[in-house]
Point group: C2
Chain length 224, copies 2
DNA sequence: TGAAGAATTTAGACGGGGCTAAAGTACAAA
DNA sequence: TTTGTACTTTAGCCCCGTCTAAATTCTTCA
């Protein structure tokens, strides 16, 4: 019923890779995300399979079992709630909280997390716009498309980030790109795919196609 | 500069034993407090000595170096601040927080603890009445004597507990013995040393000598 | 279809932290 | 001063999670 820190982190990694690239999840993908060697991953996969947290067939990658997936979403719930705490209550900025939440998510307590949830008034999204699973592990996907797929002159709002690196988040801060910001694509430069944006009603800014592919937006209804 | 969870817990244990029983601290005392075997303690003592966190001479016990003591007080600071958070913000009771704080105290972040301190408005005592070291590791001992050493009819206030076990704290709750309660010894039964107390201005209650030796009180001035 | 070549697993090792059993040391009582 | 007993350390082992190097399997493409 209770798993080690390493086991939890592996389950989370598998969950995240499966969410983005589908199943089965390869050994090397896990190794890359977790900054370890493939051989180490293989060792852990055997252990997780023994505990029936994953389905594993040698040389063919893994997928989470029902139990494994539930454990992973509970860990993600804890991670995101702690990030909310750090930002909303302690005044950290969104680029500073990931490392700390990476540790806090492993605190073992049946009641702590649910009390924290209530204390934060049951937030539905974390500081990066990612949805927070409820105590049963359920969450709604947020409606989103990549900014790079948004048509010209379609009003939209920034709802999430695909990349979580500090340097990227700081770049967004410097360009006034905060969650909830309203924006509209003014022009896509044909040469390199750079995107010119109007943010709110300010001056247009230019961002690279690279950046545009890391931002999730939701189109706002053009009427009303 | 950064220590493992086990190393931190050992340093804290040595600190606490030294505080209560003086120095040098014996291998077996550490083993008993940490619920491990003396052989395991000896192993760790060698490692801590190599890192110059303790002074260790085979067969003669240990004491903390300046560095070791500083590390221990910082851990205690973290433990007690998290206990305040759990009680004051999340609504836990004082008998539920120790185990959780035992985990939270190991979260590594330069700024987290100082922000938490500010968020809690720099408390000077934790929910058990124990003093909280400041960021430099300094703290004032609270003025205290054991209830078992308090004379008859001397007004006093409950300021701390020597025993932290849940069952003990719950016993106190059931007898309305909360920190800050005013009390006065009405009678000491000669047969077994039980103590009859008047709590505030209620009915006197009877507690065992055993319990009286686990409670710290501060005499309130009889004048004024 | 049959190698390369890439991905994955196995073999063997290591450091951290724990244990038991056996050996060594200190100290108090005779 | 000796000796018995309690305390402490050592020796040897285990599990966890990681690594490198070598072997294996899969896949792709000539
Ligand atoms: Mn983690
Ligand atoms: Mn996040
Ligand atoms: Mn601890
Ligand atoms: Mn406490």
């Amino acid at each position: 019923m209770t798993y080690t820190l390493a086991e939890e982190d592996y389950l989370k990694a598998i969950y995240k890779i499966a969410e983005r690239h589908g199943t089965p999840v390869s050994t090397s993908a896990i190794a890359e995300l977790m900054q370890t060697r493939p051989a180490s991953v293989t060792d852990m996969l055997k252990k997780l399979a023994d505990k029936e947290l994953i389905d594993y067939k040698r040389y063919h990658g893994v997928s989470l079992t029902r139990t494994g997936a539930r454990q992973a979403t509970l860990l993600i719930r804890k991670h995101r709630l702690w990030e909310c705490f750090l930002v909303d209550k302690l005044g950290f900025s969104w680029d500073e909280v990931h490392e700390i939440a990476e540790q806090l998510e492993h605190i073992q307590s049946d009641t702590l997390i649910d009390r924290l949830d209530d204390y934060l008034e049951n937030p539905k999204f974390d500081p990066h716009g990612d949805p927070i699973p409820d105590a049963s592990g359920a969450y709604r996907m947020r409606y989103q498309i990549l900014l790079s797929d948004l048509g010209l002159h379609k009003p939209a709002v920034l709802v999430g980030v695909r990349e979580h690196a500090s340097s990227f988040l700081q770049y967004l801060d410097q360009n006034r790109l905060a969650l909830g910001a309203t924006l509209e694509v003014v022009e896509v430069l044909p040469y390199d795919g750079s995107v010119r944006l109007r943010l709110g009603d300010g001056e247009p800014i230019l961002i690279s196609g690279q950046v545009a592919r890391q931002l999730y937006v939701r189109q706002t209804t053009e009427s009303a």
